[in-house]
Subunit: 336 residues, 2 copies
């Protein structure tokens, strides 16, 4: 809109109103209210200020502002086991009930047993194989509808709430802050891409095209009505974990992120790859050290392993370790 | 910014200025000046109006507005051979000169011969293999620097201009129009992703994260200074052509495009997949029928084959066939 020339009186009043507005905005709105004041919060705020200030040597042009987030354990609860594994078990049980041949397969047995210790011992790769096998012949859109149905009803065993309630409020605030400052927020998850895409937009405001995850191959074909469809094949294309996260980022984003948030050894290479870019970069690891409000785990956990070596690397490379206990005054939106 | 309350006089003046501005804007600016009035232009303008009008039954919410463009032959010249193949030949020659073992390999010989008929007979898959093989061990960033150097100096044999001058002005206008209306413009190209990303942003305004193309695997590692790097491996991951375009779209975008533009049989499935989505969709094929200003080719061409069957399908499915000769009053920005 073209501005209308204003006379002096109007212009002066305009300036005063604008100043009042700006002052109030600064005084009232903390973009990260669930974060306690501390090094992590200050580092995030300072980084956003610097990278969006065109006079700063740390300025990052808007089109290059990419923030990559791990999902499990970084933006929602991953204990006692990754939500997608619970989904997989539920699905495998359903499918095995219908298909005795599938039920007899070894990997299916392990999963369908519902023995969490045995399931937790599986690798992401195993899980991906089982999941993809379980959904062979299903179209991508049918699969997402299955995930949507599941996630609308499944509940976490400890919190007795939908998994989508178990999202970390402080991380939602960081994602919003980054988006408000011209960052594109991406998921870079070991979870299956088609799974995370079923809820990423609604729950996190991350559109499906900004979800990078483990992926199986698909087969092109036609429905009986002639409509083009893609069916899921039992062949893993990308395991988006560890080094696979850097590869997935290159494949689907094509540039090194500016900001990367993770919480486990599976995120190590994503953070290294982020840091390897030119200019300002910010790397953070969420540390689960709050058994009262969530979980406390690290080197010994099969799920979301945070080894001593990773902690050493974080210190050495200047990554920020976020203590859930000390840095977050609220973990979930439903917390008091 | 909060609006300042205005007195009556100012408000009236404001309204008049605004109306004048809007009227002038409508009268003066045709968003597609290089398009002749005709069915194709009208269909594009109508589609953009409908899908951005929230009162229209064809409205598409902003976050779902995805426009997918083939590159070779749809947004720049692909005759007498795909620019990337010229690049490949130049690179293979250079590498063969340094490495006698590579030079002895059969596929390298065919390419290094510079015999365009033999080269044109290769499939995209062959080309992808050769290119990936030629750049094994090079990091992704080094590869893009090589492409940038090449594209800054290489010239088209007929037009004697850089390939980046041989971009279709009408297509740039469509891309701009779509972006101005909340569409994300993507390339979905049979060309190598890392190749197209080297110039997509500068030449077309398409950011690297919106380039879907053929891709090889990469290997994660560290440079001597400890910096994380990805090296190209001689293993094809995705051939983004034909059915591979639908698969690539699902892998990297995760939703069916709203708009798809192609020009050959390699784009058939992309258009079908686009059309298979719910709600308003627009599918177009550029037809090369202007030997004077560009090239005329179709069913008989090895490069950018536009078969009679494709033409029949276009008619049957209601796709719009754009005649370069009749629909475009200007092809290149340098045209009079």
């Amino acid at each position: 809109m073209r501005r209308v020339p204003e006379d002096g009186r109007i212009a002066a009043r305009s300036l005063i109103v604008a100043l009042l507005f700006v002052t109030c905005a600064f005084a009232q709105s903390d973009p990260l209210p669930s974060w306690n004041d501390g090094l992590a919060k200050q580092a995030i705020l300072q980084f956003v200020r610097d990278t969006t200030d065109s006079s700063s040597p740390r300025f990052v042009p808007p089109g290059q502002r990419i923030a990559a987030f791990d999902q499990d354990g970084t933006t929602w609860v991953e204990q006692p086991i990754y939500p997608q594994w619970v989904f997989a078990v539920d699905q495998v049980k359903k499918l095995a009930a219908k298909n005795p041949k599938l039920a007899a397969a070894k990997s299916f047995k392990a999963v369908a047993s519902g023995n969490w210790a045995a399931i937790a011992a599986l690798t992401s790769n195993d899980l991906e194989r089982i999941l993809v096998a379980a959904h062979t012949g299903v179209t991508v859109e049918q699969f997402q509808a299955i995930v949507k149905d599941w996630i609308a009803t499944a509940k976490h065993p400890r919190f007795n709430r939908p998994y989508t309630d178990l999202v970390y409020q402080p991380m939602l605030e960081v994602m919003s802050l980054l988006r408000a400052n011209g960052y594109k927020t991406y998921f870079v998850t070991g979870g299956e891409q088609d799974f995370v895409r079923a809820y990423s937009e609604q729950v996190y405001g991350v559109p499906v095209e900004q979800v990078v995850g483990s992926a199986g191959e698909t087969k092109y074909g036609y429905a009986p009505n002639g409509k083009a469809i893609l069916k899921k094949l039992p062949k893993v294309m990308l395991v988006d974990n560890g080094a696979g996260k850097a590869e997935g980022i290159n494949l689907m984003i094509g540039r090194r992120p500016t900001v990367a948030f993770g919480n486990s050894g599976g995120d190590q290479q994503m953070l290294e790859y982020t840091q390897g870019g030119e200019g300002a970069r910010l790397m953070l690891l969420v540390h689960h050290d709050d058994a009262v409000r969530e979980y406390a785990y690290g080197a010994e956990s099969k799920v979301g392993t945070f080894s001593d070596a990773l902690m050493d690397e974080a210190k050495q490379r200047g990554w920020i370790v976020v203590s859930m206990k000390n840095d977050w005054n609220r973990i979930f939106a439903f917390d008091p």
